[in-house]
């Protein structure tokens, strides 16, 4: 039955992808939706069995690689972590499938789209239910591939091609780190099985890996490399530039991949490898710092974006930073809790944005919308619920996870925890700011839309409404419902899957921090919301003049250009590599060296020798007589002791050379 979870999306993907023309639009709808529904029903049974009844399921399917030390077998491991992730993945995937029935209904490549969505779900499920690192890597690469295919769905659009390439290249850089980490794990543990690696991690925590003469603690190195993989996949600072550009794909894609599932794969990896990471002090510090910086960076970059989907993308990046630094402070369960909550309200936000874009005939620029709260009240409500949840409005979903993360980061006894707290709190302010800027510019302000966009405006119909409502219910209630299940004190949901050292357990300390610091994030969020609403409705001219001052202009450019990361990457990495690719490897090596040592050079040599040798036959008989004499003399005088064939061959070459030299001289003389 656990294999059905994997088979149904695969069947849906294959049938609608390979037989899309034969089945047609209606057939694709029936097949993919029924496959996803069956997956969901199977998942409910699985969830009841593994999470609610606390009985983990694991089994091996068959052999894959069997070679001395490396015994890889296909296997499924469904424990609590897996089933809670599947709650997110399968629910959001099903809802996105239903949403895109209507969103992509007029697209001629509808079958391909639905097949790619199901393919993505399949690979994500392989990633989650994997038993060993190699199978997880298979799923990892597969979701990267599906992400590329889906961003590049409208492949005739040039921007989409560039963005998809950017996504997959940055993902691959992360994958490189992950492969090295897997190699490191193999070198220490001699196996890639989760159960063996994680249960014997404590024995190897003092092992050292030697790189030349430099020695480093093995788990530190493995942890850093695993984190590099997570940075690539989850768009942390450093390899984050693909996430905003990935909004070139259709909106359901953004909702599925870049809100709920693929970008959470990195965090899933970190949580899964918690037994390894807990023994490293340095790696956890790095994870915390990078996560906090990402949260801050993305929040500041999001306040000035103009595309509706990009704002939500930066919001995703920022929240991923929260999750990462929660994991870095050894609170893996809190990170997971925020992951699930975030999946729900972010998918809600993305799908609502999709509804708005669909209603406005594909207009994505926020500055060209406005006044939609009267025309699209349902979507406005959804947006509001999602944004309030994102902000951490008290007692909605986001509040439960976000505030716990910030309280935990305050109550650590370390400096990097405090650093994360301050950055996280300031990011909460900015998050509220841009969320309400988005709502104001899209819904509440006076309409600034072009006529051609609002001509056919209509409220969304039921297929798009059902997913939104379910997600809205999730955004409101799921935080409260799952709080005790995931981060409750003393509950045994995570028996062995999430490991933390006892000295880093902080869930009690958060109740004893000063009240001011507990309330600060909420106060800042509400302040940010009110500030943004008042600024953009009343003080518009003031803020415009602020933007035109020198300092304002510099800051504006800095934040709008995403701290110039794209620019730096372009000038220092992309441009040199592309120019090297053309000038050096193509012109100099491919067309130069290899051709010279290959066909082109050989033809030239042979042509030259032939041209020189032609000059030997002058037609003058006395020349020929001289040659005869020369040959005879050499063979009796010089070759007396040269019985070796090699010496004779060398001598022959030397004679040919001399011959050419003499004849070229003769030719010059005769031609003068």
């Amino acid at each position: 039955m656990y294999l059905l979870l994997l088979y149904f999306p695969l069947i849906g993907a294959c049938l609608s992808g390979l037989g899309g023309k034969a089945i047609g639009h209606k057939g694709t709808v029936i097949i993919t939706i029924s496959c996803m529904l069956l997956t969901f029903i199977t998942f409910l049974i699985v969830f009841y069995e593994t999470s609610l009844s606390n009985s983990i399921c694991f089994f091996k399917i068959g052999g894959w690689i069997d070679c001395e030390y490396l015994n890889l077998e296909w296997g499924i491991l469904v424990d609590n972590l897996t089933s809670v992730m599947m709650l997110l993945v399968i629910t959001v995937s099903l809802l996105v499938h239903i949403f895109s029935l209507n969103y992509m209904k007029n697209d001629p490549h509808f079958s391909r789209f639905m097949s790619y969505l199901s393919l993505f779900t399949f690979f994500m499920l392989i990633l989650i239910t994997a038993d060993n690192f190699a199978q997880m890597f298979l799923g990892w690469e597969g979701v990267g591939l599906a992400s590329y295919l889906l961003i590049n769905f409208w492949f005739t659009r040039y921007q989409a091609n560039k963005s998809a390439l950017k996504a997959i290249i940055l993902n691959r850089i992360g994958d490189f780190g992950l492969v090295l980490a897997i190699a490191g794990i193999f070198s220490i543990f001699k196996t890639l099985d989760y159960s063996i690696v994680f249960s014997s991690a404590y024995l190897y925590s003092d092992n050292k890996i030697f790189l030349g003469t430099y020695e480093i603690n093995a788990f530190t190195l493995i942890g850093i490399l695993l984190f590099v993989g997570a940075v690539g996949k989850s768009a942390q600072l450093g390899l984050h530039t693909w996430l905003p550009d990935a909004m070139e794909g259709p909106t359901p894609v953004s909702a599925l991949i870049h809100a709920a599932t693929m970008v959470t794969a990195g965090i899933f990896l970190i949580i899964r490898c918690s037994p390894l990471l807990e023994y490293t002090h340095l790696t956890l510090i790095i994870i915390t710092l990078v996560g906090a910086l990402t949260a801050f960076f993305a929040a500041t970059a999001g306040i000035l974006q103009n595309d509706i989907k990009r704002v939500i993308a930066y919001s995703t990046c920022s929240q991923l930073g929260y999750m990462v630094f929660a994991c870095g402070l050894s609170n893996y369960s809190t990170g997971l809790f925020h992951l699930i909550n975030h999946g729900f309200f972010k998918a809600l936000l993305f799908l609502s944005a999709g509804a708005v874009i669909h209603a406005l005939a594909d207009e994505q620029d926020m500055r060209r919308m406005g006044g939609l709260y009267k025309v699209l009240p349902f979507v406005y409500t959804m947006f509001l619920i999602g944004s309030l949840s994102l902000m951490g409005f008290p007692f909605l979903t986001g509040f439960y996870s976000k505030d716990v993360i910030l309280e935990l980061s305050f109550s650590t006894y370390t400096i990097h925890g405090l650093f994360a707290y301050w950055l996280g709190t300031i990011s909460a302010f900015f998050t509220a700011f841009y969320s309400f800027r988005l709502i104001f510019l899209t819904f509440l302000s006076k309409s600034r839309a072009f006529k051609r966009n609002i001509e056919d405006i209509h409220e969304i119909d039921i297929y798009m409404g059902i997913p939104l409502s379910i997600l809205a219910i999730g955004s409101i209630f799921i935080g409260f419902l799952l709080k005790d299940f995931i981060i409750g004190l003393g509950v045994n949901s995570w028996q062995n899957t999430i490991f933390f050292l006892p000295q880093r357990f902080l869930l009690l300390e958060i109740e004893y921090i000063p009240l001011y610091f507990k309330l600060l994030p909420v106060i800042l969020s509400i302040t940010g919301a009110i500030l943004s609403l008042t600024i953009f409705s009343l003080y518009n001219k003031f803020i415009y003049k602020l933007k035109l001052t020198k300092l304002g202009n510099t800051l504006y450019k800095f934040f709008v250009k995403k701290w110039f990361f794209d620019l730096i990457y372009f000038f220092f990495i992309v441009k040199p590599i592309l120019s090297c690719g053309y000038n050096i490897t193509f012109k100099l090596i491919d067309r130069g060296l290899i051709e010279i040592f290959g066909p082109l050079g050989l033809t030239r040599i042979i042509n030259n020798i032939a041209n020189l040798s032609i000059k030997n036959q002058t037609g003058y008989i006395f020349n020929y007589a001289f040659m005869m004499l020369l040959g005879f003399m050499i063979s009796i005088l010089v070759l007396q002791g040269f019985f070796d064939i090699r010496a004779k061959i060398i001598l022959l070459f030397v004679l040919l050379l001399i011959n050419d030299l003499i004849l070229t001289k003769k030719n010059e003389q005769s031609s003068r």
Binding site: K615, N616, Q617, G619, F626
Partner: protein
């Protein structure tokens, strides 16, 4: 009465220089000629003469009659070959009306 006679030592190197110089002159004569083909024939005769002198020299030094007999053979061969060469030359002249050496013919590559 013996002071006016020049004592020439009779060892192997007596006529070797002369023979080799004649040989080289004859050889170079084959391919250096820019005048006519008769020079070629004369050079061949010179070569044969040089070889003859070499043989006589050897017979004189080794006190063996074999060298002089072989020189006689070479002499007859040279005569026959000269006759044939002259006959070929006359036939060649009848065809081409000249006996120049430098003729760029179709055997040029």
């Amino acid at each position: 009465m013996d002071t006016s006679i020049l004592w020439i030592p009779l060892n192997l190197g007596t006529f070797t220089d002369m023979s080799s110089i004649l040989f080289v002159i004859g050889t170079f004569g084959i391919f250096v000629t820019r005048r006519n083909l008769i020079i070629t024939l004369m050079s061949i005769e010179l070569i044969l003469l040089a070889v003859n002198i070499n043989f006589i020299n050897g017979s004189l030094f080794l006190d063996d009659l074999f060298g002089q007999i072989f020189a006689l053979f070479i002499l007859t061969t040279a005569a026959a070959e000269a006759a044939i060469g002259l006959a070929l030359l006359i036939g060649y002249y009848r065809l081409r009306d000249s006996i120049e050496t430098i003729i760029v013919s179709t055997i040029k590559g």
